[in-house]
């Protein structure tokens, strides 16, 4: 456990050794702040039934920066170790492979959570100033954040896997982006095409991040997306572990 915490500590700290973390935080704050602002002003101009939480988490302005941050967070996790050769000192220390894989994943996830933390202030500030609720119920508020966490876990695990496949950060970033964008767009197919049949529509909605968010931000906390994201994260992490151990396969 101590070894694992040591590894995790370094992973989290390593974000802040390089300027990239600050750049990511900076742009993400701008993007999410602007997104919140436009959500509020949208409600100002055309009063409707939706809450500010729904308005903030269901727009293009939300999704666009959202899918872009994952490649930036995860690209260096393994690729940098391979390129610098530090993988050799890391794996010849008395550590288990799963500890390395899990620490890299959790380190990125913690950074991601940190990235979202300030957005909580937006909604509390909104409630304080306007005296109105940000969401209809605690479930809608918590549900949105729960889903952000779940989608984040899945996408971060994809990013870590991509990074473990290459020694170039940029390759990792591109692979991650393609994988996430691919899975994201698949979920949009139901919107793009006039659904061929109800069955296809239902199938797509199983893994449509956009549809999940529209449910969760209204407080409809469905167990199916939770199971989907948790199991996919575990699956991808398992593949990641196998890829990481590939070097140990006896030829």
């Amino acid at each position: 456990m101590r070894v694992f915490l040591t590894l995790l500590g370094r992973e989290v700290k390593s974000f802040f050794y390089s300027p990239i973390a600050y750049v990511v935080i900076f742009f993400f704050l701008i993007a999410s702040g602007f997104n919140f602002y436009s959500g509020v002003s949208f409600l100002n101009q055309s009063p409707s039934e939706v809450t500010v939480v729904e308005a903030a988490f269901n727009t293009v302005l939300f999704w666009f920066p959202f899918v872009l941050i994952f490649p930036l967070i995860t690209m260096r996790t393994y690729a940098d170790e391979f390129r610098m050769g530090t993988i050799e000192t890391l794996t010849t220390a008395p550590v288990q492979d799963w500890q390395v894989v899990l620490s890299k994943f959790l380190g990125s996830l913690l950074f991601y959570v940190l990235l979202w933390a300030p957005s909580y202030l937006y909604f509390t500030a909104f409630t304080q100033i306007t005296g109105k609720q940000a969401a209809l119920a605690a479930g809608a508020f918590g549900g949105s954040y729960l889903l952000l966490f779940l989608i984040g876990s899945f996408y971060i695990s994809l990013g870590c896997l991509a990074s473990a496949l290459t020694s170039e950060q940029i390759n990792a970033a591109v692979m991650t982006f393609v994988a996430i964008f691919g899975s994201f767009v698949t979920g949009l197919l139901g919107f793009i095409f006039n659904s061929p049949s109800q069955a296809v529509r239902d199938l797509i909605s199983y893994f449509s991040a956009v549809e999940h968010m529209s449910d969760f931000s209204r407080g409809l906390i469905d167990s199916r997306p939770i199971v989907w994201y948790v199991s996919m994260t575990i699956l991808v992490l398992f593949i990641n572990l196998q890829v990481f151990q590939y070097r140990k396969w006896k030829a």
């Binding site: 390593s14 610098m84 530090t86 050799e88 000192t89 010849t92 006896k250 030829a251």
Partner: protein
């Protein structure tokens, strides 16, 4: 401490090391020599648990490096060839991290890190960011990392590369001092180092062991164990046959120089025909301009063992 049995490593299409067997016992300092590409780094990477092997068996301190890898790795302090480090960390930060990772108890970390900073003369640089250090300093950080958990076995892949002569001497002293309680396997191209430092030498070439013995024995058994150099300004015609006939001389080669002719007498390890040469030169009135004896160096042995084929 190290037991290697019939170790073979094949990459796609070529064999890096073939049927390597050797043992290193506790307290030995073993020099691991071989030309570039001989399989030194591959062997060391396998011994450190970084790389799998194709066949054979490796055990470190009684633990199989593949089956009980983590236990085996606890005993090893490993310095890889290129000294990989996290360039964005500070020296003391990095060493504290590595100490914790290698299982040094929390309260002891500060003490151990202080010790290795001292040992590797990095005290002044402890707050420096690793990326800003010179090559020699980075090398010493790598060495400090290998030592930080006080391992029984040190595997050092070219630890003196990139160091200046003073630092090389420091590292040599350091390793010699460590050796009382520890086992060291060290690869280097600086052969005089090996002669001074190592209790035994293993020479590998093309993935096979060519020799494994003490430096002294290697030198003694070397076929051109000694060379006596004789230079005459006006050599008489029969000089070659006279020199060849001296006791202990194996063969004589001739070389024209500006001031006359130089003869190289290759001799047995113990033989020294210098006195005979001097006596004959007096008797026959040779104009002797140079007479010197050179002991063979490990370099001669190395070149001989790894030359050609």
């Amino acid at each position: 401490m190290i037991q290697v049995e019939h170790l073979t490593k094949r990459y796609a299409g070529f064999t890096a090391i073939q049927d390597l067997s050797f043992e290193v016992s506790k307290g030995e300092i073993v020099g691991f020599l071989g030309p570039n590409g001989a399989g030194k780094s591959t062997t060391m990477r396998i011994l450190s648990g970084y790389m799998p092997y194709t066949s054979g068996r490796v055990s470190i301190a009684g633990f199989d490096i593949f089956e009980q890898s983590v236990e085996a790795r606890r005993h090893i302090g490993y310095l890889p060839e290129s000294t990989p480090l996290y360039h964005d960390m500070r020296v003391h930060e990095y060493l504290r991290y590595r100490a914790a990772l290698k299982g040094v108890d929390g309260p002891k970390i500060t003490e151990r890190v202080g010790d290795v900073l001292e040992m590797c003369s990095l005290r002044e640089k402890e707050r420096a960011i690793i990326g800003t250090l010179s090559k020699g300093q980075k090398q010493r950080v790598g060495l400090a990392d290998a030592l930080v958990h006080d391992p029984d076995l040190l595997i050092l892949d070219e630890p003196t590369i990139g160091l200046d002569p003073n630092q090389i001497r420091q590292v040599r002293e350091l390793i010699k001092n460590l050796a009382h309680r520890r086992t060291v396997l060290i690869s280097t191209h600086i052969l005089p180092e090996v002669e001074i430092m190592c209790s035994r030498v293993i020479v590998i070439h093309k993935g096979k062991i060519r020799a494994s013995d003490t430096a002294e024995n290697l030198l003694r058994n070397h076929r051109a164990a000694g060379v006596v150099r004789v230079e005459l300004s006006q050599p008489p015609s029969d000089v070659l046959s006279i020199l060849s006939a001296l006791a202990g001389v194996k063969d004589v080669s001739e070389e024209k120089t500006e001031s006359g002719t130089r003869y190289h007498l290759r001799t047995d390890a113990e033989a020294n025909p210098s006195e005979d040469v001097l006596r004959i030169a007096r008797e026959k009135n040779w104009h002797l301009t140079e007479l010197s004896r050179r002991k063979p160096s490990l370099e001669d042995v190395f070149v001989d063992l790894t030359h050609g084929d």
